[in-house]
């Protein structure tokens, strides 16, 4: 690990839905009918080192998938920028795909949806490299066979259609397709979430093997804390579109500093028979259309104080290579909002 190759700088992403004609007409009379804005990402900054696997963890609606898509150039950020080797990644528009954008490849959750059912696997794998002239045409067949073998399938499978594969095998094909573009960065968005446990272990092993052999740099987006711990070097925890904690994986799991991180760890069931209580986080995840004031976690936080409901905490240093966005780490929370339970 040396310098950051991928930099995410103050990225925000907002999705705005304009009201329809009917809503606007009703709105004129009754009020309302205004555009609705979802704050999917708010001021997220991260950098990923060469050869590093960075885990992005959070619950639904925290913006982890949106972040993956911004990095892959599928969405353009509303504010801020994403750079690879200091060059901004532009969103793909029409046929004009920037060469740089192809350097970030995404692997999706559902291998039943991400492979074209009417295309032979070999065609699926070679479509990108052919179009972008990454591999000379005469080498394509050879290269496809190598790729399939690299992900633990047989070269002859290039002539098969996706329905002839099991879920685990399809996910291997999806990985091969991403590798075919010879990317600098992989973005895995819940890439093992839909697989059975025994198959998940196979795909994780493959990922770790490829990482070692090819020196892959990756964003590993997942809600599964135990998977993330197993494969990631550093982990970023997100809540409601913001980064709340960032730390090396082993330190984070040893000693989480943000109350949300601690609560998240406490609610994950672990295999074992001793624990009989579920330490639940109280309340619901708030809506990103109408995020709470101050710290977004304060309505559910057991340690929240008056300052938390007013002032949004900024990321601050919390030890070597660690940052956390919490007033507890930044001068205190003020008068407690609720009595200690």
């Amino acid at each position: 690990m040396t310098d950051p190759i991928l930099k995410i700088e103050n990225v925000s992403k907002r999705f705005t839905r304009m009201p329809g004609l009917a809503e606007r007409l009703v709105g004129k009379v009754l009020g309302g009918g205004k555009p609705v804005t979802v704050h999917a990402l708010t001021d997220v900054s991260l950098s990923v080192m060469q050869g590093e696997v960075l885990g992005i963890v959070g619950e639904s609606g925290c913006g982890k998938s949106t972040l993956g898509r911004v990095v892959s150039g599928i969405y353009a950020p509303s504010d801020g920028r994403v750079t690879l080797y200091d060059k901004p990644i532009a969103r793909a528009q029409g046929g004009n795909v920037d060469k740089l954008t192809t350097q970030v490849q995404m692997i999706h959750q559902d291998p039943f949806a991400s492979l074209n059912p009417r295309m032979k696997v070999g065609e699926t794998l070679s479509e990108g490299p052919r179009y972008h002239k990454i591999i000379p045409a005469r080498n394509v067949q050879q290269r496809m066979r190598e790729l399939l073998e690299k992900v633990g399938l047989e070269g002859a499978y290039a002539d098969r259609l996706p329905h002839q594969f099991s879920g685990g095998q399809r996910q291997r094909v999806a990985i091969a397709r991403a590798l075919a573009m010879e990317p600098e960065v992989l973005v895995l968005d819940e890439a093992v979430a839909s697989l059975d446990v025994s198959i998940q272990a196979q795909v994780l092993n493959l990922f770790m093997e490829l990482r070692r052999d090819l020196g892959l740099t990756a964003l590993f987006i997942s809600h599964d804390l135990s998977v993330v711990r197993h494969v990631c070097d550093r982990v970023a925890i997100m809540y409601l579109g913001r980064l709340v904690e960032l730390a090396p994986a082993d330190e984070l799991y040893l000693e989480p500093k943000h109350p949300y991180t601690s609560a998240l760890f406490a609610s994950v069931p672990t295999v074992g028979t001793g624990k009989r209580r579920f330490e639940a986080i109280k309340g619901e995840i708030p809506s990103p259309i109408n995020p709470p004031s101050g710290c977004a976690f304060h309505p559910r936080c057991p340690l929240a104080g008056q300052r938390c409901s007013v002032e949004a905490p900024q990321l601050s240093d919390a030890g070597t290579n660690r940052t956390v966005a919490c007033h507890l780490n930044d001068g205190g929370v003020g008068k407690p909002l609720r009595a200690a339970a």
Binding site: E59, S60, S166, G167, G168, Q169, D196, V197, S198, I199, Q200, A201, Q202, L204, N205, M208, E209, H223, L225, S226, V227, R229, H230, V231, A249, D250, A263, L264, A266, S267, V268, P269, T270, V271, G272, T273, K275, R276, R277, F278, E279, A280, I281, K282, E284, I285
Partner: protein, 321 residues
């Protein structure tokens, strides 16, 4: 004491074009009042079909070809359609993975819950709504009175699943079957619901069958665990026995492939291959082609082997070291 739910030699087959597929093969287990049985398996293992079979929700081309399902001593399979309708929702209820399978999107929560109450009991609408309100309260829904007025789309996923569980509770059934009931939820919400479910079993004495692919959830929730593979229960025992001293090589393999049990970054032990197709099961033990302990003996269907109430279907069970 008779068990709240006693399933004996249940077999469910689906007739396909070529041949019949046995999705549930000679499955037996029982759950006593106030206990939670975890039914674990990977996709295609037959765990959901077992749940549907207990509820009598198997349609053609499927049929329950053998076995008995006793709820409080009454054999559900001996009942006619009318008799079964009286049991369903009343004595035995089911919670599905997707709460929108349970909830009607165009009815207010209160209306559909009151309807479910009045199917089985002669009560005024007002009394039925009060029952509904109490059920919502029991599963920890804040301001339950207001929620009765809401439509399903106005609730979050976690809230909807709570409503689905509340509906299952309306008639204080002896048995609740929950099929992947928290799989689609976030961990923080899942934690809340698991805590409610545990309380339900402890305080109301409901017997619960918790069907899940997630060993971590099952191990922290259930009292007993059944592990299914290719339609059969391959291991059955207390949660502690199965998790701490698995005897079936498949259970061992499943536990081994969980990342949390290994040093980060190290290769995970993996079960080779993938789950077999039910229409093309290998002869004898269905796990044989993937099993590290398989021998020639395994081409014959393995016998049940019981030790301290822990039963495995295996020729070469693991012994405690």
């Amino acid at each position: 004491m008779t068990a709240a739910l006693d399933v004996q030699n249940l077999t469910t087959r689906f007739a396909t074009r070529g041949d019949a597929v046995t999705a549930v093969n000679d499955v037996s287990f029982s759950v006593e009042k106030g206990r939670i049985l975890g039914l674990v398996g990977e996709s295609g293992s037959g765990k959901s079909v077992t749940g549907f079979s207990i509820m009598g929700l198997i349609d053609a081309p499927g049929n329950i070809s053998a076995g008995r399902v006793l709820v409080d001593g009454v054999d559900l399979r001996s009942l006619n359609d009318e008799g079964m309708r009286k049991m369903r929702g009343n004595k035995v209820a089911m919670v599905f993975q997707d709460p929108m399978m349970t909830l009607n999107p165009v009815l207010r929560i209160g209306d559909q819950m009151a309807m479910a109450v009045r199917v089985h009991r002669k009560l005024s609408k007002t009394d039925a709504l009060e029952q509904a309100r109490q059920a919502l309260e029991a599963v920890g829904i804040p301001s339950p009175g207001e929620r009765l007025q809401a439509y399903p789309h106005q609730l979050s996923g976690g809230m909807r699943q709570r409503v689905a569980i509340a509906m299952a509770l309306l008639h204080s059934p002896s048995v609740i079957i929950a099929d992947e009931a928290t799989t689609a939820l976030d961990v923080s919400i899942q934690g809340q619901i698991l805590a409610e479910v545990r309380d339900l079993a402890d305080q109301m004495g409901t017997a619960i069958v918790w069907i899940s692919h997630d060993l971590a959830v099952v191990s922290s929730l259930a009292d007993d665990i059944c592990v299914m593979y290719a339609g059969r229960i391959v291991e059955r025992g207390s949660a502690q026995q199965v998790i701490e001293h698995p005897r079936h090589p498949y259970t061992q393999g499943l536990l081994d492939s969980i990342p949390a049990r290994h040093t980060p970054g190290t290769p995970l032990p993996q079960i080779p291959g993938s789950t077999p197709q039910l229409s093309r099961l290998p002869q004898g033990c269905p796990f044989r082609p993937r099993c590290p302990r398989a021998s020639d003996a395994c081409t014959v269907t393995p016998p049940e082997d019981t030790k301290d109430n822990q039963t495995v279907l295996c020729h070469h069970p693991l012994e405690r070291s």
